[in-house]
């Protein structure tokens, strides 16, 4: 049986290799990891962005650079032009002997307080050297946003894995090869599993590569693998349901699009919504994988909670499978 299943997987792999898809699957997580590594430090490196007039007060520019990202511009008109652009930049504008803070007006509320505080520090002659404060660090180097991006890209891989299964099945249907399995010695269940292997490979390989290349090598790999493996259950369910239910790749593409919403919703609920509203996302398997992966990436996870989260995903997937089973069976007939 295993040999037959492997033959089906080999056929999928061969078809997809022929069509350059494997190259994309192999390269994409590496490129995304590099992109995340490049993006994440930039997002984390400043408190606020400031703009000052060049040559007005060199000392102030040097002083403020300790607290904010500072750019200099040739005159006040240039400052106004810079502030007027779309991002959040505040200008410190000379006004006689004094200064004022110039903002566009649409910045995140309260952000201008950073600029007014920094200006006050400078005007009051406060120096870091005079500080008695002590900073103890836990020596964590991975910024939260990097963790968030890795987690989201991993979920994205799971959806795309499902999409790949769906496309493979629809193409089999269009080639009229799916009915032929009834005439072969392989069972339907084995066929289902074999067709899933290529779709499982994408999230498995993609997630591992992403985690390794983004520098999370020291995590508990056992816990991470449990979560990655259960997230492939989502890929299989999505792939089979969409693949067998839909007659064309067009419809499947539309249906998979709908999966992005619970995925985005699960992240939004976990990150932004208060404790009392968390139940809203309990039915979404992505919510549990997101929480589990987040704990593992923050080196906070323990086996108890990881297995519990994994169990929730398995239960939701079983319930979804039982609901969708008649459709899957019918699709195979």
């Amino acid at each position: 049986m295993l040999k037959k299943m492997f033959t089906i997987f080999r056929r999928d792999a061969k078809v997809n290799t022929r069509e350059f898809l494997t190259a994309y699957i192999m390269l994409a997580p590496v490129i995304f990891a590099i992109a995340i590594n490049l993006i994440a430090p930039g997002i984390n490196d400043t408190t606020v962005n400031l703009a000052l007039v060049k040559g007005d007060d060199e000392q102030m520019v040097a002083y403020l650079e300790d607290f904010a990202k500072v750019d200099v511009f040739k005159d006040v008109a240039a400052l106004e032009k810079r502030v007027g652009r779309r991002d959040d930049v505040f200008a410190i504008v000379p006004d006689g002997d004094d200064y004022y803070v110039l903002q566009q007006g649409n910045e995140v509320e309260g952000l201008e307080q950073y600029a007014t505080m920094m200006l006050t520090f400078y005007q009051e002659g406060m120096r870091i050297e005079d500080s008695t404060a002590i900073i103890h660090s836990f020596d964590r180097t991975v910024p939260p946003l990097k963790k968030l991006l890795v987690n989201i890209f991993m979920m994205f891989s799971a959806i795309m894995g499902g999409m790949l299964i769906a496309i493979n099945i629809i193409e089999e249907k269009e080639d009229r090869t799916i009915r032929a399995i009834n005439l072969t010695p392989i069972s339907r269940t084995a066929y289902i599993f074999a067709k899933s292997v290529i779709g499982i490979t994408l999230p498995l390989y993609g997630s591992v590569v992403l985690v390794v290349f983004t520098g999370f090598r020291g995590i508990d790999w056992g816990q991470m693998m449990v979560l990655i493996v259960v997230s492939t259950l989502i890929s299989i369910l999505v792939g089979f349901t969409e693949g067998l239910k839909n007659e064309t790749v067009m419809d499947a593409a539309g249906s998979v699009k709908m999966l992005f919403l619970p995925m985005a919703g699960a992240v939004a609920v976990a990150e932004m919504v208060g404790e009392k509203w968390q139940w809203v996302a309990y039915w979404v398997p992505f919510y549990w994988t997101y929480k589990g992966v987040d704990s593992v990436l923050t080196y906070n996870a323990n086996w108890g909670t990881t297995l519990l989260y994994a169990l929730f995903v398995v239960i939701i997937s079983i319930v979804a499978y039982l609901i969708l089973m008649p459709g899957i069976r019918k699709g195979l007939e």
């Binding site: 300790d66 607290f67 903002q103 910045e107 964590r140 790949l164 007659e247 067009m250 249906s255 699009k257």
Partner: protein, 370 residues
């Protein structure tokens, strides 16, 4: 005329397809999620863990201004979990901040390590004006933020805060409106739901028609290939416009500037659909094209980060087409939005969209009928 006929025929066909209803269902889901599950104003509440090691009188002096901001003016006793044990701590909760007062330094360190609060400090001293601050940071905080921690307590914090609040602040546009949490989510959602997915969907359309031999049939009809391609683009534009307007009307009512929305939406949908066509022209089926489309979609999602974190906007992100769409949608739904920006973005989408469409057409003319 032939184009109109092709378009109406395609529209009728798609309205009978499953995909059309998925789009409507998707719009309904987005509306429900936004209106039911996302509060109008999500407050970003930060947590701070402090341990106050000082005489009771000094502690009272320290706590008093914090307590004046507390929601009910009273300290609450709550439990925090550490190593599976619950420990009682004092809580001062204001509208945007929760300050937990922890009585043991080891617990403060362990909890700060576990819970990663936005700030954590051990504060000691016998004189309120000469307190010593020891911060516990995670390690990923920027050097600039650490410098702020170092300097902020050199002088009395209340005096500095007063001086800072008296600084003159001038806004270039005082009438600028702020979007609430629900409305803020719209630009990114509309971009991904509509225009960007158009790229994927149109490729699927083309491959389907190619597989069913519809495209080859064009070789023997009076219609030209460009008319067929344009009819597909127009169908996508129609569906995108309908769903975008439905979502906007439900969430914003008549507050959005619909003229700006349509000025932005049509050229951008045209551009993304043309891009989808052009990408599709390099492949023979969706499995082949999947990698390229997947790649583009991931890259196109990056401007959403710049949208939600406005202090981060590197130059390269402006070369991604979704940047102008997200920012343009924001201008379209905000009061006194920047019409100049929307017109510029529309012009760019239209111009680049025409070029991309011509490129796609020339490739399809060579390959479709082959």
């Amino acid at each position: 005329m032939k184009l109109w006929y092709s378009f109406t025929k395609e529209l009728k066909l798609s309205s009978k397809g499953f995909y059309f209803y998925i789009e409507i269902l998707m719009a309904v889901i987005i509306i429900t999620v936004l209106l039911v599950f996302i509060p109008e104003n999500i407050k970003n509440i930060s947590d701070e863990y402090l341990m106050l090691d000082m005489p009771a009188a000094v502690e009272e002096q320290f706590i008093s201004p914090l307590l004046s901001q507390d929601l009910d003016g009273e300290i609450e006793i709550v439990a925090l979990e550490l190593d599976k044990e619950m420990m009682d701590v004092r809580l001062i909760e204001s509208e945007d901040q929760r300050i937990y007062l922890i009585d043991n330094r080891d617990n403060l360190i362990a909890l700060s390590k576990k819970d990663r609060p936005s700030a954590s400090a051990y504060i000691s001293g016998d004189d309120i004006s000469k307190l010593t601050y020891e911060y516990y940071i995670q390690g990923y905080e920027s050097e600039r933020l650490q410098n702020l921690y170092m300097i902020i307590h050199i002088e009395d914090i209340m005096t500095i805060a007063n001086l800072a609040s008296n600084q003159k602040v001038v806004a270039l546009d005082a009438d600028y409106d702020h979007l609430n949490s629900r409305e803020s989510a719209l630009p990114a959602l509309l971009t991904f739901n509509g225009s960007m997915m158009g790229l994927f969907i149109i490729a699927a359309y083309i491959f389907l028609d190619r597989q069913q031999g519809i495209i080859k049939a064009y070789a023997i009809t009076a219609s030209r290939v460009w008319q067929y391609l344009m009819s597909q683009v127009l169908v996508l534009m129609t569906v995108t416009t309908l769903t975008t307007f439905a979502i906007l009307l439900a969430v914003m009512g008549f507050k959005a500037n619909y003229l700006m929305v349509i000025l932005l939406l049509l050229p951008s949908a045209f551009f993304f659909s043309s891009l989808g066509l052009w990408v599709a022209s390099f492949f023979t089926n969706l499995t082949q094209a999947f990698g390229a489309i997947y790649f583009l979609m991931m890259a196109f999602m990056l401007p959403a980060i710049a949208y939600f974190i406005p202090s981060w906007e590197p130059l390269w992100i402006k070369f991604l087409p979704t940047y102008y769409l997200i920012q343009g949608f924001k201008e379209s739904i905000i009061d006194n939005g920047d019409m100049g920006f929307v017109l510029l973005a529309s012009g760019i989408y239209l111009g680049v969209g025409i070029i991309t469409f011509l490129l796609a057409n020339s490739r399809f003319e060579k390959t479709l009928t082959a």
